[in-house]
C-alpha cells in the first residue's frame, strides 16, 4: 500500500514537473524574465488551484539551463544574491512548439493541461484553433478504437468501453466550447 502510494505521488510529480517546464518555457517566449516574474506570470495564468513555489521555479530553470533550452540573459548584482534574468533559446522555442503541437494522450481530467496549452498558444500567437483540431482528431481516433472494440466485444467490454467513451465525449464537448470561446479568451489573457 505504502509503495503504491509513493509511486503514485512520484508519477504525479514527474507529470507536474514536465508540464511546469514547458509552461515556464512558453512564458519565457514572450520575453526574458527573472525567476520572480516567471512565478508571478505562472500564478496569474495557471495558479488558481496551486501557486508555484520559488524553489520549483529555480530548480526548473536550472534543469532547462543544463539542457540548453534557456540561457542567462543578464545578471544584476544586488544587496542579496545575484538576480538572473532568463531567456529562451532557439532550442527552447522548438521544444515549446513541439509540445504544443503534440496531442496529449486522451484521458480523464485532461482539461487543466489542455487549458494550459490553449492559453500558451494564444499568448505566443500560435494557432490555438489548430491545436484544438489536432486534439479533437486524437480523441476521435481513440473513440473509434473503443467503438470497434465495443462492437465486437462482450458485455464487460461494452461497459468498460462505454465508460471511457463518455469521458472522452465530455472532453470533446469542452474542446468544442473552448473553440467557440477562443476570441473571448484571447482578449482576456492578452490585456
Amino acid at each position: 500500500m505504502h509503495s503504491s502510494y509513493t509511486r503514485g505521488v512520484y508519477l504525479m510529480c514527474i507529470v507536474l514537473r514536465m508540464s511546469i517546464s514547458h509552461t515556464l518555457l512558453g512564458l519565457l517566449e514572450a520575453g526574458p524574465r527573472h525567476g520572480y516574474d516567471l512565478k508571478r506570470a505562472f500564478d496569474s495564468h495557471f495558479g488558481q488551484d496551486r501557486a508555484l513555489h520559488y524553489g520549483q521555479v529555480y530548480s526548473t530553470m536550472s534543469r532547462l539551463l543544463k539542457n540548453g533550452l534557456v540561457e542567462v540573459d543578464a545578471v544584476e548584482p544586488g544587496g542579496g544574491p545575484e538576480r538572473k534574468r532568463y531567456a529562451i533559446t532557439d532550442a527552447g522555442v522548438t521544444d515549446v512548439a513541439a509540445w504544443l503541437a503534440r496531442p496529449e494522450k486522451p484521458e480523464p481530467y485532461l482539461q487543466s493541461l489542455l487549458y494550459t496549452k490553449v492559453v500558451l498558444a494564444l499568448l505566443t500567437h500560435r494557432d490555438a484553433d489548430a491545436l484544438l483540431d489536432v486534439q479533437r482528431a486524437e480523441h476521435l481516433r481513440l473513440m473509434r478504437e473503443l467503438t470497434v472494440r465495443k462492437t465486437g466485444g462482450d458485455l464487460a467490454d461494452q461497459l468498460i468501453c462505454d465508460h471511457a467513451l463518455f469521458h472522452l465525449e465530455a472532453d470533446l464537448r469542452w474542446l468544442e466550447l473552448t473553440a467557440a470561446r477562443l476570441d473571448r479568451l484571447a482578449s482576456e489573457i492578452r490585456p
Binding site: P103, D133, V134, R136, A137, E138, H139, L140, R141, M143, R144, L146, T147, V148, T151, L165, F166, L168, E169, L172, R173, E176, A180
Partner: protein
C-alpha cells in the same frame, strides 16, 4: 472496420457556396467520399452541415461550385434526372417524421421499391428481409404510431437501404433516441452499410455517433475541413 482507401471517389463537392437570403450557409466547402466509406460531418449548430448534405444529395442546388457523383455533374442534370437519381442511388434517414403514418412498416419499407416499379409482392418480400436484418420484423404489420422511436428509426434505416443505394445520407439519425437505442441503430446501420458497400454521409453533432465513421469532416462557418491528417 477499415476505411476503403483504394476505392475511387464516389461523390465530390468542390468549392460549394450556398446562401439563404443574406445568410451564407456554405462558403467554399469541399467534400469527398469513396464507395463503402463512412464519413461523419460534424460542427456546431448553424455551421452548414445539413446544407452540405442537402447540396451533396441534390436536394438543394448550390449557388456556385460543383457536385460530382459517379461521373455525373449534378448541376448539369435536370430536376427530373436528379429526382430519379435520388430514388435509385441515394437513401435518406432523418431525425424525425419520415415514415408515412397510414402505411404499415412493411409498406413503408417497400415504398421506394414500389416507386421504381417493383411489383408489390417482390417489394414486400425484400422489405421483410430488411426489417428482419434491422431486428424489427415483429412490428412489420404495425403502423408508425404503434411502435417506439427506436423501432421507427430502424424501420427508417431499412427503408433507406432497401433499394441498395450507393450513398446513404443520414442527418442526425439518432438525435431523438436515448443512448441505448441510438447505439443499436448505429450498430445496425453501419453493419448493413458495410455489408452492402454503401457509402454513408453521417451528419451528427454527437462524437459517440461520429466514432462509428472512418473519418470526420468538420464544418465551421460554412467551410468543411477534412480531419484525416489532423492527428
Amino acid at each position: 472496420m477499415n476505411p476503403p482507401h483504394a476505392a475511387p471517389a464516389l461523390l465530390t463537392a468542390t468549392d460549394v457556396h450556398k446562401t439563404y437570403g443574406s445568410t451564407p450557409a456554405l462558403d467554399g466547402a469541399g467534400f469527398t467520399i469513396r464507395a463503402g466509406e463512412i464519413v461523419a460531418v460534424m460542427g456546431p449548430s448553424g455551421s452548414g452541415k445539413s446544407t452540405l448534405l442537402h447540396c451533396l444529395s441534390g436536394i438543394v442546388p448550390p449557388d456556385s461550385g460543383t457536385i460530382h457523383y459517379a461521373g455525373h455533374d449534378l448541376g448539369a442534370l435536370s430536376d427530373a434526372e436528379r429526382s430519379a437519381l435520388r430514388r435509385t442511388d441515394f437513401g435518406f434517414v432523418f431525425q424525425f417524421g419520415q415514415l408515412v403514418p397510414e402505411l404499415t412498416c412493411t409498406e413503408n419499407v417497400a415504398l421506394p421499391l414500389r416507386l421504381t416499379g417493383v411489383p408489390r409482392k417482390e417489394a414486400e418480400r425484400r422489405a421483410t428481409e430488411w426489417l428482419t436484418r434491422l431486428e424489427v420484423q415483429d412490428v412489420r404489420h404495425h403502423r408508425p404510431g404503434q411502435i417506439s422511436g427506436g423501432q421507427g428509426q430502424r424501420v427508417a434505416v431499412a427503408r433507406a437501404l432497401v433499394n441498395d443505394p450507393r450513398v446513404l445520407f443520414a442527418d442526425e439519425p439518432t438525435g431523438a433516441l436515448d443512448s441505448l437505442n441510438g447505439e443499436r441503430v448505429m450498430q445496425l446501420l453501419v453493419a448493413a452499410a458495410q455489408e452492402t458497400g454503401t457509402a454513408v454521409v453521417l451528419v451528427t453533432h454527437e462524437s459517440r455517433v461520429a466514432a462509428y465513421s472512418h473519418r470526420e469532416v468538420v464544418v465551421r462557418d460554412g467551410r468543411a475541413r477534412d480531419m484525416a491528417g489532423a492527428a
